[in-house]
Subunit: 191 residues, 2 copies
């Protein structure tokens, strides 16, 4: 669990006892490719930290999958709205490839907030970074051209995501058709 500990310690230094409380909530899970960690309609309760693998978050719009986030090694992923509201998820978390994840039960973590200021701080930092992530995506979607969106995607995602997420999923993430994405990729290749 060293990678998770290290990631947490980038935000905050937990006391040994706090790390013990936190790590007691963590389960290691192996998820086969093309299977779901969360489905729409489920009450989501876990935040995932990808030890190794590739996950995506998506929802359905008129029956079509719209990807909204990808995560690979050492990144977090969750159907966060459902976790915070305790309402059924509108989103799916799917493993694109076989993945090994640390699943952290967020409701149990919340119960620990009363006993540890530092653990509550993790919750605050997590909420703030999720907010920024969705605002950034939303502004990019609203204000950039298709080509700018793709360049931004290349700049702000890990190579594993850029190289191994299927093109039609990247296209839906960028709000364009696979044909448009293919055209932009060709244009950029010849620049």
């Amino acid at each position: 669990m060293e990678a998770l500990k290290q990631r947490i310690h980038e935000f905050i230094t937990l006391k040994p006892q706090e790390w013990e409380q936190f790590s007691a909530l963590v389960r290691v899970e192996t998820i086969k490719a093309r299977t779901y960690l969360t489905k729409a309609g489920m009450l989501a309760s876990d935040i995932y930290f990808v030890k190794e693998g590739l996950l995506r978050l998506f929802h359905l719009e008129n029956g079509k999958e719209v990807s909204t986030y990808f995560a690979c090694d050492n990144q977090f992923m969750s159907a966060y709205s459902s976790i915070v509201t305790h309402k059924p998820s509108l989103e799916y978390v799917e493993a694109i490839e076989e993945s090994e994840v640390y699943a952290i039960n967020f409701h149990q973590l919340r119960k620990l907030y009363d006993s540890s200021h530092n653990l509550e701080r993790i919750g605050r930092i997590f909420a703030e970074s999720n907010y920024l992530c969705i605002v950034e995506r939303s502004l990019i979607m609203q204000t950039k051209t298709a080509r700018e969106k793709y360049l931004d995607f290349l700049q702000n995602n890990a190579p594993k995501i850029i190289q191994r997420v299927p093109q039609h999923q990247i296209a839906s993430y960028l709000g364009m058709t696979p044909e448009s994405l293919s055209r932009i990729r060709k244009e950029l290749a010849v620049v």
Copy 2:
């Protein structure tokens, strides 16, 4: 400052000393109609709690104003991304009508996080509720019809916002032209 205290106490009960620390960060400001509390390019640092009045949050897309949030009496408002990232705001906070607000300096509040678990909790709850607010708007914008969007707006906003925000600003909030909004309003009036 009783209304603000009451609103905070809906989330969390502060000890007298914590309320004293918190309220020391609050300034009372009167803002004239059609003036800005935050402008794009500024580093935003204050969260506003509307004592009385009407505020809106908007940004520019290709030179056009897109409203993304309205707040009236006893509601919070801020250019939250800029506050959290310490980067220049992409958003404007404007008073639609003359307003009296409590301005809370969020950077000073953050400095108090170390000394008070409860004040950090306010930060966590604030971040979570801002996240949910933007996710909800984003899902509505992506999945509902124009008519459903307007009905949802009527259901989830205070009467003061529904009655006193100019129609073209409501239209931009709903991602439609003022003409479409006018048509939907007429259709609903005859149902």
